[in-house]
């Protein structure tokens, strides 16, 4: 029996229904208080107010130890929190990366001082992170990074540039992958990760507008940026292992198939309102795919809870999730043709936006290569 037939969703714990009910009440309350509107824009819009409310309620750093501001709860509880936020289309962009991958990375590889300095702020929903991986010449081929960190008497000097850095203009930190030594035959040696303070370090942040004209991406330019020695994360030269671990977190969550959930909801509502029998099969198929992906995604949470490596399971969810999101758009186009033609409608906007979701955290082609390796090919 292959691993592919053994990714079993775990049984959800007893308290799940209560946790869901609490979250739904909180989401309704915060919506009244902050006036946010549901949005499937990947992880929603940036709202520091919302992130702080979440933190205050203990919905961030769910699995982290209490001494770092966490809740010491299970990965399955975190899964429930995550999917409730996504289903509601809540404005999660501020805290999402910090809570999903930067915090867990620091917890696993960071120094005690880094953990104490940074994790409680993330868990309070006050401290936001960007991902400093991609470069102009290093996209899918991450080992090709050229941004260099050089030792100085006081720490490190960084030269180079990162691109596609989401929200670097509003976030506090970027965990940045740099070359610190020779690449070796594997090309994976000599890489290290550094904590860059986006507010005080002399990194230049230039906006890169996306095809919708929105400012989410940035270029980060490091022109001899001096940082102290204690900004190294983990061990010098271990960057490849660390970044792979970070990417596993980045790829592991249900946001990989929830990107068009709000559209699916409105499409179902529209079809229901007009009693559209002809829509039943297409929407039923989307529901089947959604539930199958959710079962597989829960299996990922189960692997995380058991302390295992979710790499392949996460790659499967991400590859199929990206296709599912696009399938939703096609059905929505069929059922709401007028909405599809203007960027002022959520559907029109999604048609422009959603193709980018598949690229974030690794393209489907990279996911398929990871899966193929697990199959024993390559």
């Amino acid at each position: 029996m292959s691993i592919f037939a053994q990714l079993t969703p775990p049984v959800l714990p007893e308290g799940t229904a209560r946790l869901r009910a609490e979250l739904r009440e909180f989401l309704a309350e915060s919506r009244r208080a902050l006036g946010w509107t549901p949005n499937s824009n990947f992880i929603g819009v940036f709202s520091a107010e919302f992130s702080r409310l979440l933190g205050a309620r203990g919905y961030l750093g769910v699995t982290w130890p209490k001494e770092y501001g966490g809740q010491a709860s299970s990965a399955l509880d975190r899964y429930i929190v995550t999917e409730e936020l996504l289903a509601a289309g809540a404005p999660c962009a501020a805290h999402w990366v910090a809570d999903r991958q930067s915090g867990p990375l620091l917890l696993r590889f960071g120094s005690e001082a880094q953990r104490r300095d940074l994790l409680p702020g993330i868990a309070r929903g006050e401290c936001y992170f960007s991902i400093g991986m991609s470069e102009p010449d290093a996209g899918s081929d991450l080992a090709a990074v050229r941004t260099r960190a050089t030792r100085t008497p006081r720490g490190w000097r960084i030269d180079g540039a990162k691109v596609w850095t989401s929200n670097a203009h509003v976030n506090h930190y970027a965990i940045t992958l740099c070359r610190t030594g020779p690449a070796g035959d594997s090309r994976h040696e000599g890489l290290s990760q550094f904590l860059i303070d986006l507010k005080t370090d002399s990194v230049r942040i230039n906006p890169i507008l996306n095809l919708l004209g929105d400012h989410e991406f940035n270029e980060m330019v490091f022109d001899g940026v001096e940082i102290p020695a204690d900004r190294l994360i983990g061990k010098e030269g271990d960057g490849w292992t660390q970044v792979r671990s970070e990417l596993a977190f980045e790829r592991s969550g249900p946001e990989r198939f929830f990107g068009t959930f709000h559209l699916l909801t409105s499409t179902v509502e529209a079809a229901r309102a007009r009693g559209d029998k002809a829509a039943e099969r297409a929407l039923g198929r989307l529901i089947v795919h959604f539930l199958s992906l959710r079962s597989l995604s829960l299996a990922v949470a189960g692997v995380l809870q058991a302390g295992g490596d979710p790499g392949v399971a996460a790659a499967l969810v991400k590859d199929m999730g990206a296709r599912f999101e696009l399938d939703v758009l096609e059905v929505a186009r069929d059922l709401m043709p007028d909405a599809a033609t203007t960027p002022d409608d959520p559907l029109g906007r999604a048609i422009l936006q959603v193709p980018s979701y598949a690229l974030r955290g690794g393209t489907p082609e990279i996911m398929r290569s990871i899966i193929a390796r697990e199959l024993g090919l390559r």
Binding site: M1, S2, R20, R272, M320, L377
Partner: protein
């Protein structure tokens, strides 16, 4: 799958690997009953797995069926399991040996009149090879379970794409003994039988999907073209990765359905429908990819891939195709009184 399921799965895997060999599968298609295989399956207690108090969990039962599907076992195992489960719940004791069932999502057209059983059942699996057929029938307003001896039926042989028997069966005023009929217990009705049959068939399908994946990967690593194994080509790798996704999604959905049914959760019907729809959709995709990777050799009778793919291409239409279950789910989701989408989907 939990550890207990794994133990049962391993035992079942060994049994079917030993006894449901390609030679046995081919012979069965020529009408030769796989006696050794059947006896071992009976002795292992697989046939009674779905009976109440069998001591075998639903997860274990589905693990057995996955193993049967993985080895294209040419026997009416899910049919016997379900027939014995229905008969046992109704207090009937069917004869030893293989059984079949007639299940439909429609109200039964089978009739009992003063102990005489009449009606037509279409495409009953393995009917010509079983001892008895279990079905639901109406006796005036009463819903009954009947267990009718197959030898007393008029059979019109038929087969599915895999060459498995699918026979039309007619009973014409066959007098049944007390042991051949009983009032249908609460909860045993057409929809229950049809969904349970769909769940069991999904398990066989997931097993066959997994085996087709393994076979295609093995072949891609062995077959050399352009001076290297074709599995070194990214085009092939990505096709097989897509096939891996179909297997993983179908398997995870089946596991979720098994848990929902075992725990009698409100979501059980939706989960079972999704499991059959997902596996049925995967079947066509998987057969296409597995055959593409194998090239012409996979298209031969001699090569074992076709034992799996012809079953997948048949089973996807049994007990509701993907079209059937997708429409069923869409209908439920769009019902005027249905919950909003997220509560509809997230109800445990």
């Amino acid at each position: 799958m939990n550890d207990a399921n794994n133990l049962v799965a391993e035992a079942a895997e060994r049994l079917f690997a030993d006894l449901s060999t390609p030679a046995v599968v081919r012979a069965a298609e020529q009408g030769i009953w796989p006696d050794a295989l059947w006896h071992s399956v009976e002795e292992a207690g697989f046939c009674t797995a779905l009976e109440p108090d069998s001591g075998v969990s639903l997860g274990e039962t589905l693990a057995i069926l996955r193993a049967a599907g993985r080895h294209a076992a040419p026997i009416p195992l899910p049919e016997t399991m379900l027939a014995r489960a229905i008969a046992a719940r109704a207090g009937l004791t069917p004869p030893e040996g293989p059984l079949s069932i007639a299940v439909s999502d429609q109200p039964t057209t089978l009739r009992l009149e003063a102990r005489h059983f009449s009606g037509t059942m279409r495409r009953v699996p393995f009917a010509r090879q079983v001892k008895a057929i279990v079905a639901l029938a109406h006796d005036n307003d009463r819903s009954m379970v009947v267990c009718a001896p197959a030898e007393r039926a008029r059979l019109t042989p038929g087969r599915n794409l895999a060459g498995e028997p699918r026979d039309d069966v007619v009973f014409d005023r066959l007098e049944l003994s007390d042991g051949g009929m009983a009032t249908a217990p609460k909860g045993i009705h057409e929809a229950w039988g049809f969904k349970t049959a769909a769940l069991l068939r999904s398990a066989q399908m997931v097993g066959a999907l997994d085996a087709a994946l393994a076979m295609a990967v093995r072949y891609a690593n062995e077959r050399t073209q352009f001076g290297r194994p074709i599995g070194k080509f990214q085009a092939i790798q990505h096709q097989l990765a897509a096939l891996g996704g179909e297997v993983a999604a179908s398997s995870a959905m089946l596991d979720a359905a098994a848990e929902a049914v075992a725990m009698d959760r409100p979501s059980a019907a939706l989960a079972v429908a999704s499991a059959k729809a997902r596996a049925s959709e995967a079947a066509g995709i998987a057969a296409t990819i597995a055959h593409r990777v194998h090239g012409a050799i996979g298209f031969t009778r001699e090569f074992a891939l076709q034992d799996l793919t012809r079953r997948l291409l048949s089973w996807r239409d049994d007990n509701g195709s993907e079209r059937y279950w997708q429409s069923y789910i869409g209908h439920e989701a769009l019902a005027p009184k249905a919950a909003p989408l997220w509560p509809f989907l997230s109800t445990p």
